[in-house]
């Protein structure tokens, strides 16, 4: 299914993501890496200041869509596959891979690259490559 090319909205949305990363670093001294922040919620010793500001970050994320809906009168448009087993497998791989590899699209892709971290640059190139390969196999080899 095709989706519309939205360069202006995407650039503006990206700038807000960047603003958020700068806010979190400038105010709290923390990297806006969602997998790192989310996985802290699972810690057995959860409760430190870093964990709690992360919990509030996640609450902020969760408030975004309802606020968007309240302001614009419409929920954001999205298409999510209804293939439950596929999405559960995808979820496990994303969660596992992000923690195992110390970061995801936000921590490596945005914050890490902005810090000129070679580790993050390599990680981003790696997940982009396997992501592209996966979609290629799924859509053009298997035809799902």
């Amino acid at each position: 299914m095709e989706t519309a090319f939205t360069p202006v909205l995407s650039l503006a949305g990206g700038a807000l993501i960047g603003l958020s990363a700068v806010m979190l670093m400038g105010l709290n001294g923390r990297i806006a890496g969602i997998s790192g922040i989310a996985s802290r919620l699972l810690r057995r010793d959860f409760g430190g200041a870093a964990d709690r500001q992360g919990l509030f970050f996640i609450i902020g994320l969760l408030l975004a869509a309802p606020t968007y809906a309240a302001v614009t009168g419409n929920w954001p448009v999205q298409t999510v596959s209804g293939n439950i087993p596929l999405l559960m497998i995808a979820g496990v791989l994303v969660g596992f891979g992000a923690v195992f590899g110390n970061g995801c699209t936000s921590g490596h892709g945005v914050c890490g690259i902005s810090r000129q971290s070679v580790r993050s640059l390599i990680a981003t190139a790696t997940f982009m490559t396997t992501g592209i390969a996966t979609v290629f196999v799924m859509r053009h080899v298997i035809g799902a």
Binding site: V22, R52, A90, V99, R119
Partner: protein
């Protein structure tokens, strides 16, 4: 007091991040998968998301870290590792496969959770399971020999 202020700035940063994801289209898995579909219905929008984010973060981090520390903490908590190891590459490779399969990464999945699509409700608990799994003994120490 400073810890309460940290919570407030965490909340505001998370909210800003979520609105950014929604506006940019990154919270829509169809758009993400089309970005990854170079040889099909390619939608280059997400390159603009990343470009916009880095265009702000890159100079922003440079300006901020000229100060001795953040406003509500004594220091910047920055990753210090610079070595490349098998763990980083394996984790990123697995992450990318899951990202391609579902079109979701952690931020967009959490942001899309209140929209309550069945797929998102299935993805998020599975993602936490995967995160938990990566912290368990056999994986916690795996491939750390060369770290």
């Amino acid at each position: 007091m400073k810890n309460q202020l940290k919570n407030v700035s965490g909340l505001l940063a998370g909210f800003t991040f979520g609105i950014g994801l929604l506006l940019s289209g990154m919270a829509d898995p169809a758009k993400v998968q089309n970005f990854l579909d170079l040889f099909g219905t390619w939608d280059p929008s997400l390159a603009f998301v990343m470009g916009g984010a880095i265009a702000v973060t890159f100079p922003g981090f440079r300006l901020i870290t000229r100060n001795s520390g953040p406003v509500f903490d004594v220091k910047f908590h920055l990753p210090s590792r610079t070595d490349l190891d098998a763990r980083l590459l394996t984790g990123a490779a697995i992450f990318g496969i899951g990202w391609g399969l579902g079109g979701f990464c952690p931020g967009p999945a959490l942001t899309a959770l209140p929209l309550a699509a069945t797929g998102t409700i299935s993805f998020v608990p599975a993602m936490f399971l995967g995160m938990w799994l990566a912290g368990q003994a056999p994986f916690r120490t795996a491939l750390l020999m060369n770290a």
